[in-house]
């Protein structure tokens, strides 16, 4: 499967605050790729950097194998996006809003406006001013504007925000339909694990600007893939041990998290003790959900 979007070692800081700290991931063509993290994790910042709304301090973003050039915005023809709120010109109708974006995308066939409005079920309300739209209608119009230039990839930043459960279900159905029928790759961010689990085939989990986990959703969510939380005061020693044994770890609030096989936990504890690393808590986190809830709580 070919890669449509690749992000390597992305960094962004605001003074001393690291908003995005060495994030790397790739999205395959046809994926619905989940971008999961608690509020303030760095999801929107990462997605805005892909779109050129924020300039990264360092790192590489490649679209279809070509490096994203912030000076030449032509790569944006391949991407549609709905970032955070679906904001529009409230004094204009849905049709007029899309006409502005249609003209900015240098498209040739104006019927595409009606086509995307039909796709999101807003065709009959196209002449109404957006100021009078409900949140759900605005979200759907947000999807429509992301689709208008027929991109290969759409980036949806928390598209279910502010929607009731029925609205959320409708939004999921719409995203799945766009992915299947139009063959568009989707990157969807959320702070709700269940939302990503229901819709995505692959995902990344980030927190405090750092990558926590990445992979196929079913693999990450299975109980075989156990997260271990280790609490210790021997920070230097344990980090040295992990690095020596090529164990990937993350460090959150005095705790270290690693991916480990359940059958080998005893062996790990023995090895750590033999290295004089004093442990005062080792906890199994059965699922990613448990792990994620621990992060967000």
């Amino acid at each position: 499967m070919s890669v449509i979007l690749e992000v390597k070692n992305l960094h962004k800081s605001y003074q001393s605050f690291k908003a995005v700290d060495d994030i790397s991931f790739h999205v395959n063509k046809g994926d619905i790729y989940g971008f999961l993290g608690p509020n303030g994790a760095g999801k929107s910042t990462t997605l805005r950097m892909i779109l050129g709304l924020i300039r990264p301090d360092s790192g590489l973003i490649q679209l279809d194998g070509g490096r994203v050039d912030y000076q030449n915005k032509k790569y944006l023809n391949q991407i549609g996006a709905l970032i955070e709120r679906p904001d529009f010109y409230k004094n204009l109708s849905a049709y007029e809003n899309l006409k502005i974006l249609y003209r900015m995308s240098k498209l040739k066939d104006i019927r595409i406006i009606d086509d995307v409005l039909k796709e999101v079920d807003l065709l009959e309300r196209k002449k109404d001013k957006v100021g009078g739209y409900s949140q759900g209608m605005k979200q759907r119009l947000g999807i429509a504007q992301a689709l208008i230039h027929q991109p290969e990839l759409i980036i949806l930043d928390e598209p279910s925000n502010g929607l009731d459960p029925q609205g959320q279900a409708d939004m999921r159905e719409l995203i799945l339909r766009i992915n299947k029928e139009r063959g568009i790759t989707v990157v969807i961010s959320s702070h709700i694990l269940a939302e990503i689990e229901k819709i995505s085939n692959r995902m990344i989990v980030i927190n405090k600007g750092r990558k926590i986990a990445e992979g196929a959703v079913n693999q990450l969510m299975s109980s075989e893939s156990i997260k271990i939380q280790i609490k210790t005061k021997s920070h230097a020693e344990i980090e040295s041990y992990f690095n020596t044994h090529l164990i990937t770890f993350t460090n959150e609030n005095e705790s270290y998290y690693i991916q480990w096989e359940e059958a080998k936990i005893d062996e790990l504890i023995k090895n750590l003790n033999s290295e004089n690393i004093s442990l005062y808590e080792v906890k199994q986190m059965k699922t990613l959900e448990e792990y994620f809830l621990n992060l967000t709580n």
């Binding site: 996006a81 955070e84 010109y89 900015m104």
Partner: protein
């Protein structure tokens, strides 16, 4: 670029606040013209009573030319407020409402978007000045007709009615250039902030501040006065002198063009590199 300018014009035409300036000019100039129509003789006789001690004034003193001159004198200083309502909103307003994020996701360079917005702002300033000219000179002609123009500036200058039109044309052009400087300033400020009020208040504060400082006439500022853009906002009056100081007017045009260039270059530089966080 033409496509972007058309889009910006469409947005301006559809925005209700665009018409505040036109409505304000219509109401203010209309009210003043009516006041002059009904009570003009009294008002003018008070204004020129000193002159009547030394000169014998005959003919139609209250006419479109005099009213246009007087109205231009009193109104042009307030036009920047009306211009800022639209140009100050061009970037900051869109940032605040989130639509800037929407348009920056399209395949246009930020420099192109800024230039399109700036040109649209200039066209708005020109439209406002043309409307002001129509309301003052056009309506004045309808209500009062033409006549010789008495100008009280550096003494008394009487300009024959057939020698006035071209002076007004250049005076309005000069005023329009000053308003384009204002539009550029507010656009520049607009690129730095993310709320719609900031550029309007910021621009007006700068204009008022500079006016106060230089109206006081402190000697310390005397040498830099010719290089401060606000001091050129009244240069249109030079066109009503008997001997027009062409050199001073050329310098004024040049200084204002340089300010337009500087404000827009700073605006483009900042807009091109700013992170869109709203």
């Amino acid at each position: 670029m033409i496509r972007l300018i058309n889009i910006e014009l469409f947005k301006i035409v559809k925005r209700p606040r665009t018409y505040i300036g036109f409505l304000a000019i219509f109401l203010i100039v209309g009210a003043l013209q009516l006041a002059m129509y009904f009570e003009g003789e009294e008002l003018i006789s008070i204004a020129i009573q000193n002159l009547e001690n030394d000169f014998r004034l005959e003919g139609k003193i209250i006419n479109a030319n005099l009213l246009t001159y007087l109205l231009l004198n009193s109104i042009i200083i307030h036009i920047p407020i009306l211009i800022c309502l639209v140009t100050g909103d061009a970037i900051a307003g869109e940032a605040a409402s989130g639509t800037l994020r929407l348009i920056l996701q399209r395949p246009f360079k930020r420099t192109e978007i800024y230039i399109a917005k700036a040109i649209t702002g200039f066209l708005y300033a020109i439209a406002l000045m043309v409307f002001l000219a129509t309301m003052t000179y056009g309506l004045g002609m309808l209500l009062f007709g033409s006549g010789d123009l008495i100008v009280l500036r550096r003494g008394v200058t009487v300009i024959a009615s057939d020698d006035v039109s071209w002076r007004f044309f250049y005076a309005f052009c000069s005023g329009t250039l000053s308003m384009i400087v204002v539009a550029s300033l507010s656009m520049m400020i607009s690129s730095f902030v993310n709320n719609a009020i900031g550029p309007i208040v910021g621009t007006i504060a700068i204009l008022i501040g500079l006016n106060i400082i230089f109206t006081l006439g402190a000697p310390i500022f005397k040498d830099i006065l010719p290089y401060v853009f606000t001091s050129h906002f009244i240069k249109w009056q030079y066109f009503f002198d008997f001997d027009i100081d062409k050199l001073a007017l050329q310098q004024s045009v040049m200084v204002q063009f340089i300010y337009i260039l500087i404000f827009n270059l700073i605006g483009i530089w900042n807009f091109s590199r700013k992170d869109i966080l709203t």
